[in-house]
Each structure stands twice: as C-alpha cells, then as structure tokens.
C-alpha cells in the first residue's frame, strides 16, 4: 500500500474502543481483503485474515497479532446536565482536562472534559492531580436532552485528529496499536508477489487493553505453529531514562525474555542484519504486556515473539511515532516470513537454546 499514511489516518480517525471495535474492524477488512485469501471474525469480533501457503497440506502456520482496540472512556453516571466517566483501558486522568471528546450516544455529540477548579476542592484533594471522580464532560446539552441522547455505558472517544508533523512524524490517538496494524498491512503488501511456505494468519485482535481478551480466543481458534505479537513500545521522551526506552525513528524493537522463544529472537536479529535494518533489543524479563502473553499459554502452548514500534506519549490523545519505523516493521516481518521454509522452526521446544 503506497498510501499507508492515508490508511493510518483513517485508522486513527476511528474510535474502536475495547469491546466496540466494529468501526475500525471495517476499515481493516477493506484493506486486508485484497491482500489475503479468507477473512473471518471471532465471536468476540477479532478479525482473522488468512493468506494461504502454496505448499501442500499439512503445513505450518504463523499467527501475527496486532490489537486494533483503542483506549477511551465510558459514561458511568449523569451528574445533572454533565457526564461522569470511567476509563476503558488505562488512561492517566492528568491528560484529560480540556480534551475534546466524542460521546457515542443515539447520535455522536462533542463534549469537553473539565475538572472541578482546585480552589473549590476539599483540602484533601486540592493541589493534587485530578482523579476521575473530579472530572466531568460538558456537552452543552440540557439535562433532559442529554438523557435522551446518552445512555449509561455509552462510549466516549478522543476527538483528536491525526497530525502530520513533517518528515514522516505523525501524532494522534490510538497509534497504540493502529501503528502495528499499519505495519502488518505493509507486510501483507510486501508479500503480494511471494508464494508462502507457511499459512499466514493476520489477526487484528479485540480487547487487548482489557486483559488481552481477544488474543486468548483467537489463538485458541487458529492454533498456530508460531505466534508473533506486534505492539507499540516506549520511545525516548523528556523525563524518561534511555535504558527503559528506545530511540524514535531508529527501527523496531526485537523482544527478548520469558515470553519470547529465544530461537525466534535470534532469527529476527539475523533477519534485520541481513537487510541492514536498524533495530533495538527490548528485554522483557517478566511480562511483555502484549497479546503474546495470551498466545504463549493458550491451548497446548505456542512459541511466541514480540516486535515493538517505539512511540511517545503512550495512552494519551496525542501519541507520536514515525512512518519510517512502521514501514520498517512491516518489511522486517515480511522478510522473516519469506525466509520460512516448510520444515524450519516447526516443533520448537524450549530446549533448542539452553
């Protein structure tokens, strides 16, 4: 897809909160339909796109998961003519005051998140960062009209529009994890003219931000030979230490840790070197915090891998990353896939690497 930028824009302009992914799922379906052989959906709404191998059956399969859900808010109660909200996924309430949001009621309405002024707060809360109980949304609608349009449980999404910042830098909501969906799309584009030895399942999973719910059920359905999760990771930004973050625009990260099969890590490092692609090694000693956590322990277990795209300002209305790293991630995945022989990397156990 030459217009990966336009595709990413449309992904970032779509709400698709955890549990309510349909709008973004429709956009991804359109993009993946011409690039794959079969599209199906899990009972929970995850999108499974299968690119069939050219070799004869039985053949191994690779599942690549990129979650498509985004974080946001949900209406929790009415407070006279205002709305109180709770979070879907983790949102630091400090980023919310002043943000423009869209309330998805009977019709979409725009609102602004506001907070109780510091001087009117009880002494125990004054001078401190806002908490959800002290935040509310003003839609400008009167109490009666608001109750006609909005129902408890309606979702509220960030209204921030994608920003092009020059030199391929892009900012907006839900780059976590639509950046990875875009990377997976680049990968599928790259694979267009190749015959594959392995079946390739691209899964745009639901509800990653809610306990990895989509990845469990999708992995159970697909039962892949190998699994890869593509997700965003922390890029260097002011106030964060270099050893816990990764440089922005310097390539994807290649995960290493208990959630990752060491041989897959090694293969990805070799692949990156082979095509002269810059990368960073991301150590994940405990949890990778990605869909790979669910993939690894589903059914009888799956050898897994994690590839990361560095972004800044994670879980805010203006996350930021570069198209360069998105394209690189797609190309790295494609190169790994085309290098898979029918009998390589199957039947992996943890014994291969001591």
């Amino acid at each position: 897809m030459e217009k990966i930028e336009a595709f990413l824009h449309s992904l970032m302009s779509s709400p698709g909160l955890s549990g309510f992914e349909k709008p973004v799922s429709e956009i991804i379906t359109q993009a993946w339909q011409p690039l794959t052989d079969e599209i199906s959906y899990s009972p929970l709404g995850s999108l499974h796109a299968l690119r069939k191998a050219a070799s004869s059956e039985p053949r191994p399969s690779l599942m690549i998961a990129a979650h498509m859900d985004g974080i946001g808010l949900m209406v929790k109660s009415f407070s006279r003519g205002f709305l109180r909200v709770t979070q879907i996924g983790g949102i630091d309430p400090r980023v919310l005051p002043g943000q423009l949001v869209t309330v998805h009621g009977v019709r979409e309405i725009t609102g602004v998140v506001q907070m109780i002024p510091d001087r009117f707060l009880p002494a125990s809360a004054a001078g401190k960062a806002p908490v959800y109980d002290n935040l509310f949304i003003d839609t400008g609608l009167g109490e009666n009209e608001l109750k006609r349009v909005v129902r408890i449980g309606d979702i509220v999404s960030f209204a921030s529009q994608p920003l092009d910042m020059g030199d391929g830098y892009i900012s907006g909501h839900s780059l976590d994890n639509r950046a990875s969906v875009a990377a997976l799309t680049v990968c599928l584009e790259e694979l267009k003219h190749y015959n594959l030895q392995w079946d390739l399942w691209c899964a745009a999973t639901v509800q990653e931000e809610m306990h990895l719910i989509g990845a469990y059920s999708s992995t159970f359905h697909i039962k892949p030979t190998l699994g890869i999760a593509v997700d965003v990771t922390f890029a260097q930004e002011p106030g964060l230490k270099d050893h816990t973050t990764f440089p922005l625009g310097k390539g994807p990260t290649i995960g290493l840790g208990a959630n990752i099969h060491p041989l897959l890590h090694k293969r990805f490092v070799e692949t990156a070197k082979e095509i002269d692609m810059p990368y960073a090694i991301e150590t994940m000693p405990r949890s990778s915090g990605t869909d790979a956590m669910a993939m690894q322990i589903t059914a009888a277990g799956v050898p897994t891998m994690v590839i990361g795209i560095p972004i800044r300002y994670m879980h805010t209305p203006y996350e930021l990353t570069t198209l360069t790293d998105i394209r690189r991630t797609g190309r790295l995945l494609a190169k790994f896939i085309t290098s898979l022989e029918a009998d390589s990397l199957t039947g992996l156990t943890r014994k291969e690497v001591a």
């Binding site: 709770t86 408890i152 809610m210």
Partner: protein, 331 residues
C-alpha cells in the same frame, strides 16, 4: 420467593466447599430439568430443552459459593487464626459471627489495635469458639466457616449473608420452574469458586462450548455510601455494560435491553468500577463466547448483611424467563 431466598442464603457453601448448597439446589430443580450432573470441580450443571431451528445453545451461570474464612492455625490459648476465602473485607470483621461446616460457632475480634483510626489486616483478627486451649479447640487448621447472620425480612427489601450470589441462584431456580417452552438447549450452571477467580465457570464453559453466555450476579449500587455509580436499589434489574474484568458484548446488551422493553419492566444500565463476574472467564473460553450479565442491585456486598429489593428480584426473574423462552436475536 422469600422462603427460597432464606433457604438458599442460610445454607453454607464457602468457595471450594459447596456440597451442602449444591444438594439443596439439586433437590429444588431435579423435577424440572432433563438432565443434571456435577463436574470435576463441583459445578452443578442442569440441561433443559432441545435446540430448535431458531434456538441457540445457552449457558446461564449463577455462582453458589459465598465468601468465608479458613483456619490457618490455633494458638495455645485457643484463639483461632484464619485467612480469607474470597474478598472478605476486614472492616466488617469485628463482632461478626461465623459458623464452621462441622457446626461449631465462633465470634471474631482483633488483637489490641495500635491505632484505632486504622482497620487492622486479616492476620490480626481471631475467632473465639469458646475453647480455653489449643487442645480442647473443636476446629483445626484447614477447617472452613461462613459468616453467621440470619435472614431478615424487611418487607420490600431483605437482608442476609450470601445474597451474593444466592439471590441469583434463587432467580435461576425459579426461572427453571417457570420456563415451560424454549427454543433453546439451556445449560443452567450453579458454579463453584467464583469468589476465588471464577474457577468453576472457567471449566464449565470449556466443557459446554455453547453459543451464548449469561452470568447472573449481584452488583454494588451507588448513592448511599458515596459510591459514584448510577445503579440504585429498587429501580429494576441491571444490565451490565462493563466491570473491571469484562466488557459485555454490545449485541448481548441490546438483546437484554430489547427484552426488558418488550415485557415493559424497569431496568438499569450498569457500569461498575470494582469486581467482576463469571462472565469474565466465560467470554474467553475456547475460541470466545458472546456474553452478558444480568445483575441484581445489592447493598453492602461482601458484608454479612447484604440487602436487595424484591422489586429488582421479581422483575429480574421476569426478564430472565422471557430471555430464555424466546429466540435470541443479537444485533
């Protein structure tokens, strides 16, 4: 209705120790179901109806376990130290009474508090069963007790221990008795160990592998104690949109809302910021199951005196019977 609530709430059944309550429920429903079995974890699973062309295979789960305590050791002076089975809230402990499965009763108090303004942790409480030494103490490490608090009929409202989740068990028992015709194959699960991460529903859902899941549970309410949520007592059963571990399938939510509208009962939409239910694990069973939750609003959840309103219970029962008797249309 209150008689059944009283019977089910007053029967003991701590998480992992559900034998007594299981037998009471089995006796209630046996004449009305086609088949009944108990699985390896102790879930009581009843089957009703045959799946017709316009029907589905549906799992309905109400957990029959309740929170309780388990003895960790007995001190030389006969004081019984304990740990919790499920989320026991320490501030409800002083002055509580417990009843062990072997019939022994005891009262709870704490070590002398260093700071009266602070709630002490669980390990600073003890149960006094009237023993004067370790030797003549009638309970030992590993023995299990539930809270001992009688059923109080307050008229429109009732209070008891274990309304979480025996009120839903009672609802499901009465629905089983009332459902005459259904296009569905129904699997009615009285699940175990919900209070310790829904272990029963996990295996029940895996074993049944159905199209649609519905959990029945209580939900905390707002208003009275400064909890900021919209659900209130007496305003109808609640249809869950989300809790901490679960986002209900929007199609299932709308199916329930449409059902409530069709039979013209009041209902409330529930957005909960604490706790979760069996639906959390049902949803991710195998390749995924579309799931929802019908909640009975309940005050003082996980205290020895929980409270529900009979209006919510009766309207919830009507809704459950309606939903399980009609073809399911998920939009």
């Amino acid at each position: 209705m209150k008689e059944l609530l009283q019977k089910l709430t007053q029967t003991p059944g701590a998480s992992g120790y559900e034998s007594a309550i299981r037998e009471v429920i089995r006796e209630e429903i046996s004449p009305f179901v086609k088949e009944i079995k108990v699985d390896a974890l102790g879930n009581l699973i009843a089957r009703m109806g045959e799946k017709k062309a316009n029907g589905s295979r549906i799992m309905v789960a109400a957990h029959m376990d309740e929170i309780g305590v388990i003895v960790t050791h007995v001190e030389k002076n006969g004081a019984v130290r304990f740990s919790n089975l499920g989320s026991v809230i320490p501030r409800y402990l002083p002055g509580s009474r417990v009843k062990f499965l072997n019939g022994v009763r005891g009262v709870i108090d704490s070590d002398k508090p260093e700071d009266l303004a602070k709630i002490q942790p669980m390990n600073q409480f003890f149960i006094d069963v009237g023993a004067s030494s370790e030797k003549d103490c009638p309970v030992k490490a590993g023995d299990v007790a539930v809270f001992d608090r009688e059923f109080a009929d307050l008229g429109q409202r009732v209070a008891s221990k274990a309304l979480d989740d025996r009120s839903s068990c009672a609802l499901l028992v009465e629905a089983i008795k009332q459902i005459k015709e259904t296009p569905h194959e129904l699997f009615l699960v009285f699940s175990v160990q919900e209070e310790v991460t829904s272990r029963g529903a996990t295996t029940a859902a895996y074993g049944l592998d159905v199209d649609l899941g519905l959990a029945l549970d209580v939900t905390p309410v707002g208003n009275l104690m400064g909890i900021k949520m919209q659900v209130d007592l007496g305003k109808g059963p609640a249809i869950k949109v989300r809790d901490v571990g679960f986002i209900a399938d929007p199609g299932v939510v709308n199916w329930m809302v449409d059902g409530a509208k069709a039979i013209k009962i009041p209902y409330q939409m529930e957005v909960l910021d604490i706790g979760s239910t069996d639906a959390r694990v049902m949803q991710i069973s195998k390749a995924g199951m579309r799931s929802g939750v019908l909640s009975i609003p309940c005050r003082y959840v996980h205290s020895p005196s929980e409270m529900i309103d009979m209006v919510d219970y009766e309207q919830g029962l009507k809704l459950l019977v309606h939903l399980l008797s009609q073809p399911v249309k998920l939009r």
